[in-house]
């Protein structure tokens, strides 16, 4: 294999594998910037992956809607399902002032259980959906795709990958260039100060948790109807936690989180392409497979500089308290 092919394979794999991480990490950023810790990203991704697969099957195969429409309805359902399932976490951590880590863990366990239970009810007792017939395909842009490396490496990716990069831009703009973003960050840093100038802390935090749920749901949907074509117990397997690590590694900044997610995506792509590229002659494939997780631990252990969480992250806000 020549160098151009190798580079193309690695670039394309990196972008595709980082897409679900970018989306979910972005959700984490929005959440924690508003002062709510969300360990539940994994659970929200599971719900998103589940909803996307089931709705794509239902609309495309049962209702007979056009094949291009079904995956879009699936990904929309993934977003809505993520938003809906983030509500209990919002109620528990904002209104009931419960421990946010415990609530997030509960969300993870609950989501995994409920998704598999419903799948078993819908698919004759099988713990996985049937193969989804209408899924997202990699985009083919005429002419541009013929450019070596750029075309097959960067541009020939799933529509959800384009969506992820677009959302990173939007998140950056909203969080740093609009009054809404300023308020969002204020309630995460100093909710009391925000409250005294008239920002509705409760409302801002609710919105942040729900937006975050939608983003994590999108990430899960990408896993089930773009990168795979079914939902089962192993579809999400740890992506939510890697997204959490990407958020911290990216220092709670949308662009930083994207960079970290791309880095983890690179590790996953290298692990998956090690054999085709001939890397396994020098490095055992077990080590390559463990690489993304090793990097996650290293990132979390703070090897890459001090990461400063938003000051009020994880602390419930009591109106009138000092």
């Amino acid at each position: 294999m020549n160098f151009t092919d190798m580079l193309t394979i690695i670039i394309n794999g990196t972008i595709i594998f980082s897409t679900p991480l970018i989306l979910a990490a972005l959700g984490g950023v929005v959440n924690e910037r508003a002062g709510i810790v969300n360990i539940g990203l994994e659970g929200l991704m599971i719900i998103g992956a589940f909803a996307a697969a089931v709705v794509a099957i239902w609309t495309g195969e049962t209702l007979g809607m056009p094949g291009w429409l079904a995956p879009w309805l699936g990904i929309l359902a993934a977003m809505l399902a993520g938003m809906l399932f983030s509500l209990p976490h919002a109620v528990a951590s904002i209104d009931l002032k419960a421990d946010q880590v415990v609530s997030g863990v509960a969300l993870n366990i609950f989501a995994g259980g409920v998704a598999l239970f419903v799948v078993k009810k819908l698919f004759e007792g099988a713990g996985q959906t049937t193969t989804v017939q209408n899924v997202f395909h990699k985009v083919n842009i005429p002419f541009l795709n013929d450019i070596p490396i750029i075309g097959p490496g960067f541009l020939q990716i799933y529509p959800t990958s384009y969506l992820a990069f677009l959302l990173v831009g939007i998140a950056y703009w909203v969080m740093y260039k609009t009054p809404f973003g300023l308020r969002l960050r204020a309630v995460g840093e100093h909710p009391r100060a925000a409250d005294t100038v008239g920002v509705n802390v409760r409302k801002m935090r609710y919105m942040a948790v729900i937006i975050s749920g939608g983003l994590a749901g999108l990430g899960g949907g990408t896993l089930s109807i773009a990168m795979s074509q079914s939902f089962q117990h192993s579809t999400v397997s740890g992506h939510g936690f890697m997204a959490l690590a990407a958020m911290i590694f990216g220092k709670w900044h949308p662009v930083g989180a994207m960079g970290a997610a791309l880095f983890f995506g690179l590790a996953t792509a290298l692990a998956a392409s090690g054999q085709v590229l001939g890397l396994t002659q020098y490095v055992p494939s077990e080590f390559l497979n463990a690489l993304p997780y090793l990097l996650t631990i290293l990132a979390l252990a703070g090897v890459v500089g001090r990461a400063q969480a938003p000051a009020a992250s994880g602390k419930p806000y009591e109106k009138g308290s000092r």
């Binding site: 193309t8 795979s228 074509q229 054999q275």
Partner: protein, 308 residues
């Protein structure tokens, strides 16, 4: 009569051997009037509890699908000597308890025919193989396939890669995209549900990118891209043993080996849809040679080295 089945991590919609085994039991349900029970395993730690719950729940026969649960079957069989169990794809290391019927297949023979097909059909003279996990069982597919390619086109290149998982479609898809990217035009997979990703990648790329399926006839996964499937009649094996049990002819303590001769492995009936007649005729002639014993198909790396 209650017949239970425990899948490995692939699950019963794996488009592969778990699904095939399930189809065997569905047939037994219809024709023999058995009661079918199925449990899916999500991780290796589920095998023993799943098997035990059926054995203790008085199932007349409990199937373990896949070599991954060989040790669990042995353990459960020894702990419950009055129960009856069956295992697919393992001879339990040769020591088969009296209450276990073991079934294995000569995957290398069927895979050889797929190698013949791939070598004949490849325009680039480069073909790929995607395996699930690098165990002796999956290597039977790999070396059988490589031998078939070598027999027809000794200069063709075969790249064999392993996904290290039977349940990761995203990884199967990525590996397939890499193999196609480097110029392979036909990929044979033996990777369970991971292989679904290979089909999905071929479908996305369109005409001229071929897949050869495994275990079941996988034609419907990508009708325009599927050359053939190496079918392994797990369904027939499961049905036959279940039927024997109903007729009080259950034979435990031994392994039944099913190859091309016994109809345990073969190419799929849909092969003719995308494969020209003359290629099928060639496959048939090799099939006859294997059945006659003229060709001894290698099943391991060492046997393949000496194969000419």
């Amino acid at each position: 009569m209650t017949v239970a089945m425990v899948t490995d991590v692939g699950g019963i919609h794996d488009n592969s051997f778990n699904q095939s085994a399930n189809e065997g039991l569905v047939k037994a349900e219809k024709e023999l009037g058995i009661t079918k029970k199925v449990a899916e395993s999500h991780r290796a730690e589920d095998y023993t509890p799943n098997l035990t719950s059926y054995v203790k729940g008085n199932a007349d026969l409990t199937w373990g699908i896949g070599f991954l649960m060989a040790d669990d079957i042995k353990k459960v069989a020894q702990a419950n000597p009055n129960s009856k169990l069956g295992i697919i794809d393992s001879d339990l290391g040769g020591e088969i308890p009296k209450n276990v019927a073991a079934i294995t297949f000569k995957e290398e023979e069927g895979s050889f025919l797929m190698g013949v097909l791939a070598a004949k059909m490849s325009k680039s003279h480069k073909v790929g193989f995607v395996g699930g996990v690098k165990f002796a069982l999956i290597e039977k597919f790999e070396y059988g396939f490589k031998a078939g390619v070598k027999a027809v086109d000794p200069t063709a290149e075969v790249t064999a890669v392993y996904a290290d998982a039977f349940d990761k479609q995203d990884k199967g898809k990525l590996l397939a995209s890499q193999l196609y990217q480097q110029g392979d035009d036909i990929i044979f997979h033996a990777a369970g549900a991971t292989g679904d990703g290979v089909f999905s990648e071929a479908k996305e790329r369109g005409k001229g990118f071929w897949v050869i399926g495994v275990d079941r006839d996988q034609y419907e996964l990508a009708p325009a891209n599927t050359l053939s499937s190496m079918v392994k009649r797990v369904d027939n094996a499961v049905f036959a043993v279940t039927k024997d049990l109903g007729a009080n002819k259950f034979e435990g303590g031994k392994v039944t080996v099913l190859g091309l001769k016994e109809g345990g492995v073969d190419y799929a009936a849909t092969t003719e849809k995308n494969t020209p007649k003359d290629v099928i005729t060639l496959m048939d002639s090799y099939k006859t040679k294997i059945i006659n014993g003229e060709i001894k198909v290698p099943a391991t790396a060492d046997e393949f080295k000496n194969f000419k």
